[in-house]
């Protein structure tokens, strides 16, 4: 069965689930924990932020996450320079004792599109420093190839702007990226609903990462399940090999033996 042998491999580590989820924007920890559980995700993204020294009453995220069950993927969300992103990654490694980082260096507050120049700079430094780097990038095959050549463990092109829910706006670029690089291609950002995730997987992507599409849904736990099923369905359809598209009909019932 494809489900049992078909694993996602990132930097030599195997994962059964191809859906990665964020931990932001949930109403409360209880809802977050249930949504993550139902999604079946094994890799979850977290952000690195200052501890509030004057108010220690709030619960900590890690009080709610079973670290034996999940691989934490700290991100550098909110960083606009290579320097800030590198500093954040080093702090994340010290806090989490893992080398996995989701590297994002943003270029603009309105679009949250990546600043690829700073991204490449940061990736080079972090890889030399022993990090396993998963970069959030534009859906640009040339940038993705450069990231692979630097030694990134995967590339994570956006489907559409972060949090926009616009879906996979340029499936052709995603296909070219899949032809261009050998490392896993994970669509990160832009997914709005289950069909978007299925489309990413049907294109041949190795995984999908999302946060807002689940956390922002009216029923995040139900949407988490929908996304799990969509990623599985899309992957199976990709492996099964779809029929070519044709302009005209092609009868599926035999023409022989018609009564008239």
């Amino acid at each position: 069965m494809p489900e049992t042998t078909d694993k996602l491999v990132i930097a030599g580590r195997e994962f059964d689930s191809r859906l990665m989820v964020g931990t932001g924007k949930y109403a409360d920890f209880h809802e977050m924990v249930r949504a993550i559980e139902v999604s079946g995700a094994q890799i979850i993204t977290v952000a690195v932020r200052r501890v509030n020294i004057s108010d220690r009453s709030k619960e900590s995220l890690l009080d709610h996450i079973d670290l034996k069950k999940y691989t934490l993927l700290p991100n550098t969300a909110g960083c606009y320079t290579a320097e800030d992103a590198i500093r954040t990654c080093r702090l994340a490694r010290e806090a989490g004792l893992s080398d996995f980082v989701k590297l994002e260096v943003l270029g603009d507050e309105r679009t949250l599109f990546p600043n690829n120049e700073e991204l490449l700079k940061a990736a080079a430094v972090l890889i030399a420093d022993g990090f396993t780097v998963l970069p959030y990038t534009s859906d640009d095959p040339i940038v993705c190839k450069k990231l692979e050549d630097l030694g990134c463990a995967a590339v994570m092109p956006l489907g559409a702007p972060i949090g926009s829910g616009l879906g996979i706006r340029n499936p052709y670029n995603i296909r070219i990226i899949l032809e261009t690089v050998k490392v896993p291609v994970i669509v990160d950002a832009g997914v709005g609903t289950a069909s978007d995730a299925a489309i990413a997987m049907e294109l041949g992507c190795h995984g999908v990462l999302m946060n807002t599409a689940i956390a922002g849904a009216k029923d995040p736990v139900a949407m988490a399940e929908a996304m799990k099923l969509a990623v599985q369905a899309g992957r199976l359809a990709y492996l099964a090999g779809r029929i070519p598209m044709k302009l005209h009909a092609s009868a599926s019932s035999p023409l022989a033996g018609l009564i008239a």
Binding site: G24, K25, R49, V51, S60, A77, R93, L106, G163
Partner: protein, 69 residues
């Protein structure tokens, strides 16, 4: 004496980093600490004495994935 913690001026006794974290109720296993912009490995919290004018950055993991998190 005075130090800077996460960008704010804080007054403290000349204690170790370990003692300082305990005094503000922080579990050292759950955080990462920079002392004067250098990562301070956890193994050194106990032996590192804070000095006047030191700058501490104490971070932890919070919910995130979308950059506004």
């Amino acid at each position: 004496m005075n130090i800077t913690t996460n960008g704010e001026a804080v007054s403290t006794e000349p204690v170790t980093v370990q003692e300082f974290l305990a005094s503000v109720g922080i579990d050292p296993r759950r955080v990462a600490v920079e002392l004067n912009l250098e990562i301070l490995p956890k193994a050194q919290y106990q032996e590192t004495l804070l000095k006047e004018g030191d700058s501490l950055e104490i971070v932890h993991f919070v919910g995130g994935g979308a950059p506004l998190g």
